[in-house]
């Protein structure tokens, strides 16, 4: 029994999940390749959020700000200045990290709900700037002309010719998200991540034993903002456009829900949550216009029956099964 558990932990999940996900273009329709791209990007976005939520114990409402900044930086550089995709993508992440540093400096000085509200104010300010700065950001209409990056390799993929473009972009996006998630995993499991955990568990005690709580929270904030920026850059390309909504606080609420749905105490919780929520959303909206109601009910059920999220619930179930076996 104990061997199986450590085996569970020893599996290189990032690699396994990525390889599994990479098979999608070979058997799925274009619609599902499209959906899989969406899931991959939001998996990265949600995992970046969880660095703050599950690992450090901070609840930011305004994580969308860095997502939006990354999207605009990457999209505008590609569209207006013809910057190559990978460079623009990295710069988007750096843009997110930069603003996370600026906003984070003020936010980490606050705690709990005040922290949350200040992050929200920051996101709304970013949104308002994107909404109004017509000359640069296209204002309320955004910038709907982000070009599809030229991917010179992968033309040999044995997929349906109509799906080739989408499949190529999907695999590139998947690879980039996988790398991002892998890096986040290493960070979470590193000594730095342990320090963040101790801050989450008891900030006072951490401060007492000499950890500069604020400084570490800021570092986490910056890293999370950077990866959110990377996810944003990919999202802008995926949507072929960047719009102020990307920075609106409700985008951050989406990933908060995904993380909680999947389970914030597990590294893969946000990824699972993203996949489940997006698939569920896609399935439900074809049948009813009352998706918010359905989501609300799901959240209530989640709250009362599976407070640890899906992975938390699975873990409890597993333990119970093990206990009987």
């Amino acid at each position: 029994m104990s061997e199986r558990q450590s085996l569970l932990e020893r599996i290189p999940w990032t690699l396994v999940l990525t390889l599994l996900a990479a098979t999608v273009p070979f058997f799925a329709s274009r619609y599902y390749i499209d959906l899989a791209t969406y899931i991959a990007i939001f998996a990265l976005f949600a995992t970046s959020l969880n660095l703050l939520l599950g690992t450090t114990g901070l609840v930011p409402f305004g994580h969308a700000a860095y997502f939006g900044i990354g999207a605009y930086v990457c999209g505008l550089l590609m569209g207006e200045l013809q910057v190559p995709f990978l460079l623009a993508f990295v710069l988007g992440g750096l843009g997110g990290a930069l603003f996370a540093a600026i906003f984070g400096f003020f936010c980490v000085r606050l705690t709990k709900v005040y922290f949350s509200m200040l992050t929200l104010a920051c996101a709304q300010i970013v949104w308002a700037i994107c909404f109004k700065w017509n000359e640069v950001t296209g204002g309320e209409q955004g910038y709907p002309r982000v070009p599809m990056p030229d991917i010179p390799f992968l033309d040999w993929l044995p997929v349906h010719p109509r799906s080739l473009q989408m499949a190529k972009f999907y695999l590139v996006a998947l690879a980039l998200c996988a790398i991002g998630i892998y890096l986040l995993r290493r960070i979470t499991l590193s000594p730095f991540g342990r320090i963040l955990n101790s801050i989450r568990d008891n900030a006072e005690r951490a401060q007492f034993i000499g950890i500069d709580v604020r400084r570490y929270q800021l570092y986490a904030f910056i890293i999370a903002g950077g990866f959110a920026g990377l996810a944003g850059g990919l999202f802008g390309v995926y949507k072929r456009g960047v719009f102020p909504d990307y920075a609106y606080w409700t985008k951050g609420a989406e990933v908060l829900i995904m993380s909680i749905l999947g389970g914030i105490n597990h590294f893969w919780g946000p990824t699972i949550g993203a996949a489940v929520l997006i698939l569920l959303n896609g399935a439900v909206v074809s049948y009813t216009e009352y998706w918010p109601f359905v989501l609300g009910v799901i959240l209530l059920v989640l709250l009362f029956a599976f407070p640890g999220g899906l992975l938390g619930g699975l873990e409890t179930l597993w333990r119970r099964v093990k206990g009987r076996g």
């Binding site: 329709s29 274009r30 619609y31 499209d34 909404f131 109004k132 017509n134 204002g139 309320e140 209409q141 955004g142 709907p144 002309r145 599809m148 349906h160 109509r162 949507k239 072929r240 456009g241 719009f243 909504d245 990307y246 896609g282 909206v285 074809s286 216009e289």
Partner: protein, 399 residues
């Protein structure tokens, strides 16, 4: 039912996709309709959808087009470009729609236009007014617009105000976003050209979704304008007018207010009832009756009343109705549902709409669509209606 139909369609679609041809013999022509069906913009989105539904019902009863029926695939775009793109992609990739007819706001239009271009699906936008949609740098073969645009609207407002010889001070109020900014810019540029003696004394920029307009109203009144050009629309117009009337704004300018944004539509007059600021000039895309109304329009209104069971009927269904007319006439002329052929057929196409001939110009794929303007008077039932409505021909205002 849905599953088997989808399977039945998937096979011929797959075959055709491989062979390059883009029609499924015998199956319905699927038209994707992204429109806001929730939130404040649903005020226009829902009635617009009914126009499409009525057209499809009539057309299918008459045998459809090219022997095939039309099937509408409807999705809520929530009036945001983000969601509009998402549902449009879903309709193209999952539902395999052949065409897109929809989008309402000026942000949705250009966003979905990019998707249409990429997937080579013809998009006819029946309502977005932004000039950006068909501007030269954004124009491509698969985007067409059958609505009016901000240039026409701003300039028409200027023409009306310029006719009031005793007006020397003019103020504007519009939401601080693309539509409001563009229409105000066109208004100011044109009125300065027509009447160099007019001074624009004030411009107010409330944010979209402002709950309390009173600071803006008050600030504008303090500048003592003789006339006001307003771009308030939909639910926002209702809120603004409800707050402006008790403050005496309309009295102060003697009702010399020209309001774009279809504030003369049935939705606005019905929502406000007796609180409507009677005496202002507003516009609307459609009216139940007007001077010189052709028989075809009378018939259309009668059918619309029966279909929607509303009296007076809304002015928004006509937008989707005419857009669907253009689409099906384009398909007929092209003799196929191939996007490139339909696109070529639509350029320069003139059709008979219920209110007369309308043409999609070949040079910018924009229709010559004007609106009705007139003074909003109090009707016998206490609801405002447009008196002496005049259809203002947009051609003099189009570049």
């Amino acid at each position: 039912m849905k599953v088997t139909r989808r399977v039945a369609l998937a096979l011929p679609v797959a075959v055709c996709a491989l062979s390059g041809a883009a029609f499924a013999q015998g199956g319905p022509i699927k038209v994707g309709v992204p429109l806001p069906l929730s939130g404040p913009a649903a005020l226009y989105g829902e009635p617009a959808l009914k126009g499409a539904q009525m057209f499809v019902q009539e057309l299918n009863a008459a045998g459809g087009v090219l022997g095939r029926k039309i099937e509408l695939v409807v999705r809520d775009s929530k009036a945001t470009p983000d969601e509009a793109v998402r549902v449009s992609r879903e309709m193209i990739l999952k539902e395999n729609v052949d065409f897109l007819v929809g989008t309402l706001t000026s942000a949705e239009g250009p966003a979905v236009s990019t998707i249409a271009k990429e997937n080579k699906i013809v998009l006819i936008a029946p309502i977005p007014k932004t000039d950006q949609l068909v501007a030269p740098k954004n124009l491509h073969p698969y985007i067409f617009r059958t609505a009016s645009n901000t240039t026409i609207e701003g300039r028409t407002g200027a023409e009306i105000i310029a006719k009031w010889a005793d007006v020397k001070r003019v103020a504007t109020i519009a939401h601080d976003y693309a539509y409001g900014q563009d229409v105000t810019k066109e208004f100011i540029a044109h009125i300065k050209k027509l009447r160099p003696d007019i001074e624009v004394v004030d411009s107010q920029w409330p944010k979209l979704g402002e709950a309390d307009y009173t600071p803006f109203i008050n600030a504008q009144m303090s500048k003592k304008p003789d006339a006001i050009f307003s771009a308030m629309w939909g639910g926002h117009f209702v809120t603004w007018a409800k707050q402006a009337k008790p403050l005496g704004m309309f009295d102060a300018v003697k009702n010399r207010v020209v309001n774009g944004g279809e504030a003369g539509s049935v939705e606005a007059t019905r929502a406000m009832g007796p609180e409507y600021p009677f005496g202002i000039i507003a516009n609307a895309y459609d009216l139940p009756t007007y001077k010189g109304q052709p028989q075809s329009h009378k018939d259309y209104i009668a059918r619309l009343k029966a279909f929607t069971k509303e009296d007076p009927p809304s002015s928004w269904p006509i937008m989707m109705y005419v857009a669907m007319q253009f689409l099906t006439e384009g398909i007929k002329k092209a003799g196929s549902t191939d996007s490139d052929k339909v696109s070529a057929a639509l350029k320069g196409l003139t059709i008979d709409t219920p209110f007369g001939k309308q043409t999609i110009r070949a040079k910018d794929q924009q229709a010559d669509r004007g609106e009705f303007y007139g003074v909003m008077e109090k009707g016998p039932d206490g609801i405002a209606f447009m008196k002496d409505a005049e259809y203002i021909d947009p051609k003099p205002f189009m570049d």
